[in-house]
Amino acid sequence: MTADAHSPDGAAPTAAPSVADGTATDRATGRSTVALSDVPPHSAEFLATVAARELAGRRRVFAGVGLPTLAVDLARRTIDPNVELVYESGVVGAHPEAMAEGIADSVLVSGAEAMLSMDALFGYVLQGGHVDVGFLGAAQVDRIGNINTSVIGDWRRPEVRLPGSGGASDIIASAREIVVVLRRHDPHALPAEVDFCTSPSPARARRQEGFHQPAGAGVTTVITPLGILRRPDRYGELELAAVHPGVTVAEATGNAGWDLRVRADVAETPRPRTEDVRLLREEIDTVRLYLR
């Protein structure tokens, strides 16, 4: 059956049961009703869907630029309509009528619940401890969850000048946890140690003795084109928690920049539903801004 048949008016079925494990049951018939997509794991559609599932049970999400924008939009349509979107531009409780092209898009402002000053957003909302999960992009994430968004190579004369911190090094200090979406899974993107630490893990912060330690748990989840890495211990290291369909554990570990530990319960990531892909392509990112 098609997504259209399941949802004849084309609207997203919100809060579908058991989305997280990739299956669902039609309440009326008791039969499994979810058609799964075969978009490849490295596609933006796949990554955004996996990222959206990470928002289950999270109330307030600080969304960055790029894939996170897709993920939070999809999450509100399929996981939990009450996920509250917070943006560093000051928007709180966005209700966008169209996909936001960036964190300062006018559609995030019109109809929002609050448009705060940046001081209130970073000071009260973020430092005040109201953000459950910060959703960040990154060029590199290392073994203990340090993020580099600044430079590749020596920062005095970098090979690549990356965008820099933006709000990232503020967010990592105060959001309860951080989810990172990486577009690559190789030793460059997942080095043992980042070239430059823009946004530190609690383990790295702790080495700065005598400092008031940040409240946030740092990076707990990294979504890559090969799998999902998790870091359950505040001061521990990232471990392979899942591999995407068609990816072997050896591929995932072999393409990390360190000896990536594999969890005993390592799982296979459920595929996106065709409906997720349809929503992303036909309703969310109709101009293919992020679905590149």
């Binding site: 019109s110 109809g111 619940e113 609050a114 209130a120 000071g123 005040g128 401890g129």
Partner: protein
């Protein structure tokens, strides 16, 4: 407040809000800088006979004098110990000057020092610098005001520590049922005091549809995620005022001075006007229609601006 809130309506009654959230011995901020003072909530605290509260208010005002008369307060954190335009608060003075009927512990700042305490509390900063107090006796009186050396070489500057009340109560013109709160006119320390607290009660002149709030998001100073309880209490600031809704009852401010000068008269006032009324609606009814009519203001519209909608 910290932590995630349940989605959905947070609207309840003032009686329930105070019963659930105000406990003896708590530190409670009641903010509103000469405007939107949460009198109705304070009166309900008196009705429910809470005790041993630490009250935080930049300008204690008549509300704190009444809470003191009623025996609810043992400690006061404030920056101005008088009534805005109408002179002394005599219950405060009796307590401080003569320990009559009991001493009152006070912790004292300048206005900006007190405001910066809320700011640091809301932002979870260990301290906030300000340019005040160099040469003043205030830091000697209040050891919480301390000095920090600038790491850029300009010498020392005074700082204040965060203030994180157990509960903050504010009054506003309107909120939606989830607690997105809009206020205009003098906005005082309401927003940082709310964000600094573990729990927040917002009383409003009017609970409005979410669409009303969302039509003008820049007016939301306290978003729903910072609010635990919303209570609709029309006239909830009397004898203070709500910009655009009703004016201050200046006659009452003048009347309070002789009442508070005589402790027996003040106790009698509390008995008659607070314990003698079931709730704020009854208090307003006792006040009478003619007096209320005298506080009405003529409309002065802000005018509407556009936020724009992207064309499909």
């Amino acid at each position: 407040m910290t932590g995630s809130k349940v989605t959905g309506s947070k609207v309840t009654t003032l009686r329930e809000a105070v019963a659930e959230h105000v406990r003896d011995g708590m530190t409670v901020a009641l903010e509103g800088f000469g405007h939107l003072i949460p009198f109705a909530a304070g009166h309900e605290i008196i009705r429910q006979r809470r005790r041993d509260l630490t009250v935080c208010r930049m300008t204690p005002d008549i509300l704190t004098d009444q809470l003191l008369v009623a025996g609810c307060v043992s400690r006061l954190v404030a920056s101005f110990f008088a009534s805005g335009s109408a002179g002394s608060l005599h219950e405060i003075r009796r307590r401080v000057e003569r320990h009559d009927p009991a001493p009152l512990e006070t912790e004292e700042y300048s206005h900006y020092g007190m405001y910066c305490r809320y700011e640091a509390g809301a932002k979870r900063l260990p301290f906030q610098p300000l340019l005040s107090y160099v040469g003043s006796d205030l830091p000697e009186l209040n050891p919480r005001i301390r000095a920090v050396e600038s790491p850029y070489g300009e010498g020392k500057v005074y700082v204040v520590p965060p203030l994180n009340p157990d509960l903050t109560i504010v009054h506003a013109q309107r909120a939606d049922p989830e607690g997105n709160t809009q206020l205009w006119g003098i906005t005082g320390a309401q927003a940082p005091a709310a964000y600094a607290a573990s729990a927040v009660i917002v009383t409003v002149e009017e609970v409005v549809e979410p669409e009303v709030v969302r039509a003008d998001p820049n007016r939301t100073l306290i978003p729903a995620h910072a609010v635990d309880v919303v209570v609709e209490v029309p006239g909830g600031s009397h004898p203070s005022y709500a910009q655009g809704c009703y004016d201050r009852d200046s006659a009452f401010y003048r009347e309070w001075t002789p009442i508070s000068r005589d402790r027996e008269a003040a106790l009698a006032w509390i008995d008659e006007w607070i314990h003698g009324t079931a709730d704020h609606a009854a208090y307003l009814a006792k006040l009478g229609r003619p007096r209320w009519d005298g506080l009405r203001v003529a409309p002065a519209p802000s005018g509407s601006v556009s936020y724009g909608r992207r064309k499909g």
